[in-house]
Amino acid sequence: MGSPSSKEKTDQPEYSGPILYYNDTVLDHFTNPRNVGELAENETDGYGLVGDPMCGDQMKLWISIRSERIDRIAFKSYGCPGAIATSSMLTDLAKGRTVEEAKRITDDDVVEALGGIPERKKHCSLLGVLALQAAIKDWETKCSLKKESEP
């Protein structure tokens, strides 16, 4: 048996169960998600769609790029509170960043910015990250196509 002192003794255990362990920041992003909506097609430089609502969460994300920076960002999200709040936080983190900076945003960054999220909801934070990367990829593909099509 290990020595008692080697055991984790925390007054705030990590709960794996109920929803309610979302902290206030998460609740705020769930209740007032930032950057919700869509960009019109002519305003959209990149679009990402990840997830499959048939078996979990789904996110759509639109970006417009100006001077290699994410100028506008919008999302729509189907899913649990974790999915909605992390999606919202992701868009907040990405907004105004350079594309290179935005690419480096990780799921851990999103969770950290929210001040933590229940263990079993951690996977949600990947949704936004992947959607952003998909949107950036979409933009990059369009760029290179444009370049190719240039004389």
Binding site: G17, I19, F75, R120
Partner: protein
Amino acid sequence: MIYLDHNATTPLDRRVLETMLPYLENEWGNPSSPYRFASRAKIAIEKARNQIAECAGCGPGEIIFTSSGTESDNLAVRGTAHALRSRGNHIVTTAIEHHAVLNTCKALETEGFRVTYLPVNSSGVVSIKELENRLAPETILVTVMHANNETGVLQPVKEIADLTKKRGIPFHTDAVQTAGKIPYPLCELGADLISFSGHKLYGPKGTAALYIHEKTPLSPILTGGLQENGLRAGTENVAGIMGLAHAFSLSAESAEREYKRLEELRDRFEERICTLIPGTKINGTGAPRIPNTTNISFDSVDGESIVLGLDLHGICVSTGSACSTGEPEPSHVLVAMGLSPKEAQGSIRISLGRDTGEAEMDTALEALSDTIKRLRSISSV
């Protein structure tokens, strides 16, 4: 707070707490101890057993006290399986049982039992014909719940009892969601084993009982002392037992009145919600249901988000059974009824109780309508 999750648990009735207090404060003797002080505790629990037996329509010797609906289910299912192992190894149940039965059947499969999980139709009802077809000479137990905890849909338990009686097969029904709600004695269901739980009927948590028809063979799952007629060892939770008995008889008294009252409230709510919120579907309406439960699917939104949205309005509802909220999978009950995982994911359960009136339902309706609108405005689907 508006509490609309009475299928998960109920508040402890103040009158029940009053009944319990003397057994926490003064009458703390061990019912098995051999002196008069402790005998008062023993006499008390035997009176409680009589009280329950009277309300349930059985003999006091047919009531065994346990610590939860889950334990009652385990005792019934494992206890029968182990008692009748030499007679056969086949168990018939349904795909929509509570996990207390479902996971116990799965555990028995690892011990060499064969389990048939009967399907249900789109209303959530098992077919008697199908059940009859699956009975085999080696069938030693049929276990079919009375009302489903997620949808409130009632199974044809009396008909199943008639059938199993003819075939001489023990029949267990999990009546955790109907005990205290139905306006007739529990034993009229005709089952050989009936589980029910205190905290679902305004009694204390940690108390439950199993009705065992006198001739039903059963092995104990907790062995030790001779308490509970040798069928459930362990020092009795005396205060809890007193509370369970009082809560059970209070529910029996009000069941008929509450049944009608809640049915009206729920039906009105369901009608209005379908009008007010498009893309809404009530699950299980094609079948008889207990009147306090409604299970609703909403297009394009996730159940957990609805629950949290309502929670932020001070309204408590649930996505399904309380004890499975740890699981991210869609409800096994709704999926068995033919809903797609996405439809199942977009469902919530609202369950009414004694403290629910029109005002509560009206507030809930408004909050629900707001929440759904808001979530749909965010939704990508």
